[in-house]
């Protein structure tokens, strides 16, 4: 049986969004909007951090696609005072016009594109506090309507789910559910290189993972076993003949897979079955090289080949400045020292006995 956990962890490192350039851009644009609202004497807003970046499931886009950041702008206004949400959306649109050369008024958000290949999605909310405990939030859509929304509750729901996977954290602090969601998102991007209503959204894949994924550790150690977790997950997803249905846990409680056509839903389920088949074949393959290579079929080139794993282990150990020949010489010398050590014990991990 191939142990591919290191491969999965390196794959995760290869695809996750890291660093803060998006957060910096977000802060700049928020300042632009705040300044505009102040100057025009319009109501201010509070920031609601939301979206994949905040949930720790953001991934790098493929090819020319943009990566994104979602920001909620929660205006302290009664929706009854602004029955047409487009009025409030226009404040934001006018504020960001000219900030970059491409601003789009989309369904649930205002999308500000940056030339550097990413965009910030601004989501507008009207917030009405009837008491300290009670907060009413409505999302302003571009058809002028307000829809009840609970982004903070959704965040709490997601954070609680992530917390249940606490024992599966690895180096960077991502839990198994965050890693598995990212794997699926990359798989999804490979299946659907462009935006399409038949493409499951990132939040749909995350909510599906919350519903179906179980924390999975290796039988022999406390190490996460992402491969086994995904196989079991695919089994759960494809178990029923009916459509995949996952209701959002907050208003409007819609099925997050609801927009996918029946034909595409069948293809999606077939794709999960196919993925399961390939994952299982990799799991039982005793040849790690071949197993890793087979997973590139579904996850693409960012899934590391065995050679890359060895290279990453060695470079992590030796520092990245050394040349290959120096590294190899050092390894040879270390091995030669080890071969001269007599009566060496086998290290153990016994912290309890």
């Amino acid at each position: 049986m191939a142990n591919l956990q290191r491969h999965f962890e390196l794959f995760h490192n290869n695809i996750k969004v890291a660093g803060v350039p998006l957060a910096e851009k977000r802060d700049i644009i928020l300042e632009v909007i705040r300044k505009y609202l102040r100057e025009k004497g319009l109501p201010g807003f509070e920031l609601i951090n939301q979206g994949s970046y905040i949930y720790g499931v953001g991934i790098l886009p493929l090819g020319d696609n943009e990566y994104d950041i979602d920001v909620g702008l929660s205006f302290n206004i009664k929706k009854a005072d602004y029955p047409d949400a487009r009025v409030v959306r226009k404040w934001v649109l006018d504020a960001v016009k000219g900030h970059t050369n491409k601003v789009r008024d989309r369904g649930p958000c205002i999308r500000v594109h940056y030339a550097a290949g990413f965009h910030v999605d601004l989501v507008i909310y009207a917030r009405y506090n009837s008491s300290d405990q009670f907060e009413d939030l409505y999302l302003g859509k571009n058809d002028g309507s307000w829809a009840k929304s609970e982004p903070k509750k959704l965040k709490e729901y997601i954070n609680a789910a992530i917390e249940k996977f606490g024992s599966t954290k690895v180096d960077g602090g991502a839990t198994q559910i965050q890693r598995v969601t990212r794997y699926q998102k990359r798989w999804n991007d490979i299946r659907f290189p462009d935006d399409s209503s038949d493409k499951p959204t990132g939040i749909a894949l995350l909510l599906l993972s919350i519903e179906k994924l179980k924390p999975t550790l290796s039988a022999n150690s406390n190490e996460s076993d992402d491969l086994a977790a995904m196989i079991n997950f695919c089994d759960q997803v494809t178990f029923f003949f009916s459509r995949i249905v996952v209701k959002k846990p907050t208003p409007e409680y819609e099925d997050v897979f609801g927009k996918i056509s029946d034909a595409e839903m069948q293809k999606l389920k077939d794709a999960y079955s196919e993925m399961r088949k390939i994952l299982y074949a990799a799991q039982i393959n005793s040849n790690v090289f071949a197993a890793a290579e087979s997973l590139q079929q579904i996850f693409g080139d960012d899934f590391p080949a065995e050679e890359e794993i060895k290279k990453s282990e060695i470079s992590a150990a030796l520092g990245r400045d050394e040349t290959d020949s120096v590294q190899m010489a050092r390894i040879q010398a270390l091995k030669s020292i080890a071969s001269g050590v007599k009566d060496a014990p086998k290290p153990h991990s016994d912290f309890t006995g």
């Binding site: 060695i314 390894i331 270390l334 014990p345 290290p347 991990s349 912290f351 006995g353």
Partner: protein, 220 residues
Amino acid sequence: MTSPDDFLANIENDLVNNLPGWKIENGSSPLAVMGSIIIEKDGVTLDAFEVRVQLSPSHPDDHPIVYETGGKIERIPDQHISADGSACLFVEDEASRFWTEKTKLSDFINGPVYAYFVGQSVFAATGEWPFGERRHYLAGVLDFYREHFKVSDPVVVLEFLKVALKSPVKGHWYCPCGNGLVLRKCHLPEVRLLQKIVKRSRIISVVDQVSKALAPSKHT
């Protein structure tokens, strides 16, 4: 009986003569020494670890505890190191191979401790443990006993350990390995050897842990 001053002087001498650069840590109790494990070949330093070795509270009956203090090794079970940096050099059950009450501290550090860090260095560079590794936790302990008795079934291992706890062990008892022979014609030497090399208290603890692990799980 060695006086405390002689004891300290002996350790100091041992360090000066056999572990240059190593020092006794001020004020630690039990006594601890600190220094570097340098892994070098032909005068070239390939790797180095900052290490602290503290005598056991039950010194010299039990082996010293070894800590990697430089933070170079990730504190995870797969690295055979605990969260506080203490190194898991071997399964406790085979400790007598590497430490007796007569073992000099320098022999311990230049022997199994040095080997441990060579292993760490090779693992960091290649992903392989040059001397092998024990499986984590109880599984690794069981493997030690499996090798000792040359049996695979953990139930049989448990029976052997129970026999080893008896005193005296009678040669006419049937051997737990199940081949139908009496102990004196079968595994008696292994049982006797085990009684010599593993402390009774440790065997009791392992019997307890293995019994719990083998007990059928209760479903409600």
